[in-house]
Symmetry: C2
Subunit: 374 residues, 2 copies
Amino acid sequence: MRVAIPKEITESEQRVALVPQLVPALLKLGCTVLFETGAGNGAYYPDPQYQNVEFYQDATKLYQEADIVLKVEAPFENEISNLKEKSIVIGLLSPHRYPERVKALRDRHITSFAMELIPRISRAQSMDALSSQATVAGYKAVLMAASMTNRFFPMLTTAAGTIRPSNVLIIGAGVAGLQAIATAKRLGAIVKAYDIRTAAREQIESLGAKMINIDVKADASGGYARELTDEEKQKQQEVLFEAISKTDAIISTALIPGRSAPKIISTKMVEAMMPGSVIVDTAAIAGGNCELTQADKIVTHHDVMINGPTNLPSMMARDASNMYAKNLISFIELLVKDGKLNLDWNDEIISQSALTHEGKINHQPTREMIEGKS
Amino acid sequence: MRVAIPKEITESEQRVALVPQLVPALLKLGCTVLFETGAGNGAYYPDPQYQNVEFYQDATKLYQEADIVLKVEAPFENEISNLKEKSIVIGLLSPHRYPERVKALRDRHITSFAMELIPRISRAQSMDALSSQATVAGYKAVLMAASMTNRFFPMLTTAAGTIRPSNVLIIGAGVAGLQAIATAKRLGAIVKAYDIRTAAREQIESLGAKMINIDVKADASGGYARELTDEEKQKQQEVLFEAISKTDAIISTALIPGRSAPKIISTKMVEAMMPGSVIVDTAAIAGGNCELTQADKIVTHHDVMINGPTNLPSMMARDASNMYAKNLISFIELLVKDGKLNLDWNDEIISQSALTHEGKINHQPTREMIEGKS
């Protein structure tokens, strides 16, 4: 089994799918590791740290010789065209965002696995790349907000008087939101969290934050929330308006899988915030939780700064790659036995995460999106 | 008494010398407050928040009508030329950096007080602007390092394995260094601190950090350290080299008043650091503690990023202004009695902080620097 790690060519993607300390895990599985020169540079893993791998200067050749390709982002169509037929690609393939690439994978008879489709069952926890990368995003978003805010997060008692702590509001208490709560608490802020899933309360409170909610049950499958009704949305607006006007910094993290992010923070709410307040909208990649969010820009409106980073994990590429590579290795350990490929299609982890296989799109929602309902 | 607050015109200075919540304190002293339109904007204190002040569109007129001018940075010579003779200027006047401005203050018979010359006695603690601004700098420097580092500061135990905490080294445990220690600890890093003053040990350890030192007594007056001998410097290099090679992030804060910052981090040390490590050198304004530091730039050397911000408090202008304005008000309360100026030259706070008065440079080291020894 020749496992290849190409350099990510998506702009501003600094992560790498394999870190030096995990090369031995692949070798132990009987794999040979093909590594594109410089692929780890963005994450500050220079080539000399990768021991016992075969280095490739030429990405085309690397793709051509690979049985399995490990990626962060979905490969581009020109990368896919270099792949051997029936080879395997594993990555965060974002099928909703890149239907053309899914078609290319299908047409080239690639067996592709999308890490984000791995079911959230306990046996697959160590492969849960959405969670590992959301952990990075939640932490990084708080650092970003704290850096932008012009105010201290902690309370300070100094000879020049007492500085009150910042009020931080976390919207959405999934993995990213919970890590954001923990980080903002670490920094000493007063933290409130808003979530429409009743299941979130215990976790929010165990981290020492106060929960704001609207008394509806909106828990849906996979740990996500369902979309709200118009009436519920109205109620949400009222409850949030009150909280947001007293907030120095907001981290918003509310996502509905495969859909646009819910617009939770209206322009009117932003206008009610104090001058110098900040919003870090981690849902920017799906359009944002704030009406004013623009992808990868800092928008200033009424003296409130709204930052919409679309790839926070890449901004902390070293540890993000470390965690992501561990997720990949855990998954590969399922696929490879005694140095040979061993795809057990009865294993729900394998069957559910497969995006394309033998010229077909395996994942039903993606297939319906691309090929229509049959 | 007409007390004027002009807009700071130094490039990238966002602070303001008066915040809205302290206007009443000046009014209570019997002062009238003249405020330049927009002076608080950089610190996100918009004009409407300043109540019961007289707004001036024209800075020249504001200067001309002021009995006391409150500044952050030293006024430029063209600002000084607009001042009434014998009026008062109070600010962080940096006489070492701006001898021409000191001459202009002298020649115009301005009574100027430099906040950094206020003696560090307990009665003057509430006026200690060096400390209040260093507190901001220490906090902000850690946020900056955490944002640059590509790694988590805290230890994380996740389904994708354990992420080890970052090793952070704080060089210089003065006010900025201690705040940096506290902030890095808050974020969950393993923190070591280096200081050559034996007095620093207790404070470092009380914040939960480990002290590294070289067994010399280098305590000097005013809470600063003396310069080291060549032999001591050699010893310092050896001790630090060992520590630095295992460090993910360094915050350096070592300053000797009125001198260039000691060069503590050699190029060789930087080259021994791990790829992706970061240095935030808060001594950049005085040349930096690292040989590679460049003012207000991020230098990358051997995959180590060295950031040399020269005005960290301005980057957190809202709270920095809040604290600085409190320092100023405490000082003014000494100068003004029943709405009238009352300079008690027997008070060491007043006599020592006076930089120029009645056509003379009052502060001996500045006078010797500008006029030579007499």
